[in-house]
Amino acid sequence: MRKSNVTTGILAMAIITLSATSCKDKKKVQENQEGHQTEQMEDSGHMDGAMEDHSQMDHDNMNHGEMAMMSSEVIADYLTLKNALVSDDKDGAAKAGEKLEGSLKNFDTSKFSDEQQDELKDIIEDATEHAEHIAKSDIGHQREHFKTLSKDVVDMVAITGTENTLYEQYCPMYDNNKGGAWLSMNEEIKNPYFGDKMLTCGKVQREIN
């Protein structure tokens, strides 16, 4: 009994020491990162522009164009990812997945209605996990996550609308014939689930404007 108390005490002290150290370390890293981020912001003019537009937006009434603009970066990264999968390009897909993590994080939901915000946050949380896994997986696993991710993006577009016409396409053979859908800016079918193996499996199900 006594002995185990002593052991616990020593352990607790060790843990406290450890966490104190790691806290300090973390702070340093954060400072570094902040310094870094400021730099990045300064030399990227386009980012500044986007931020300005943003603040001028009317809080309660967003028109369609503004709503679609909010999701345009996410959609762009999603389409880059889709194209990489079409080309069987694992590294390209991983990079696009990482970029998508960023654009999902930047997605500002605050201008949407409460109900829309709830759903968008749910979508973003789910999509972020898929993007994270896509960023560090082999292509088979990337495609598994791409299937669920595609559903998230379709649901997102249903709320925000889109600046460009999108085509929802579907191939019934993917995933042991359970099928898989995706979005594309081109009507012509190029399958991201099979790539070169079966590039043309699929058909357009819907045009989204």
Binding site: D122, E125, D126, E144, T148, K151, D152, N176
Partner: protein, 114 residues
């Protein structure tokens, strides 16, 4: 567990094969016995729990549940879960063809019902 009316059979399989890494259950009789194993498991438990925690199932939204179920199906179909390095030591956690089918059927049904 997943839902209230999970069949006992399925629950037992998941508890035996997945809970050590995907739940808050830390009551491992073997846990501290062999040091390399303990390190290995600690890493995998923390990591596995981040991915999927059956104890937090009720808090997942339907969208999250759907994603997790899809992922569970793929992992079992591909033979990636339970981790082979774990079933080496825990033979009872290995999924026989029967068990695998039982879990897959039930998880697929649950997913379709969401």
């Amino acid at each position: 567990m997943l839902v209230n009316d999970v069949p006992k059979q399925v629950e037992n399989i998941i508890k035996t094969s997945c809970y050590d890494c995907h739940s808050n259950n830390t009551d491992y009789p073997w846990y501290n016995k062999v040091q390399p194993v303990a390190w290995f498991l600690e890493d995998h438990v923390t990591h596995g729990k981040e991915e999927l925690n059956f104890n937090e199932w009720a808090d997942y939204s339907n969208r999250r549940k759907n994603s997790k179920l899809k992922s569970i199906i793929s992992q079992i179909e591909n033979g990636e879960m339970p981790l082979w390095s774990y079933t080496l030591i825990h033979r009872e956690a290995k999924l026989s063809e029967d068990k695998r089918k039982t879990v897959l059927d039930w998880v697929s049904k649950l997913k379709d019902s969401l």
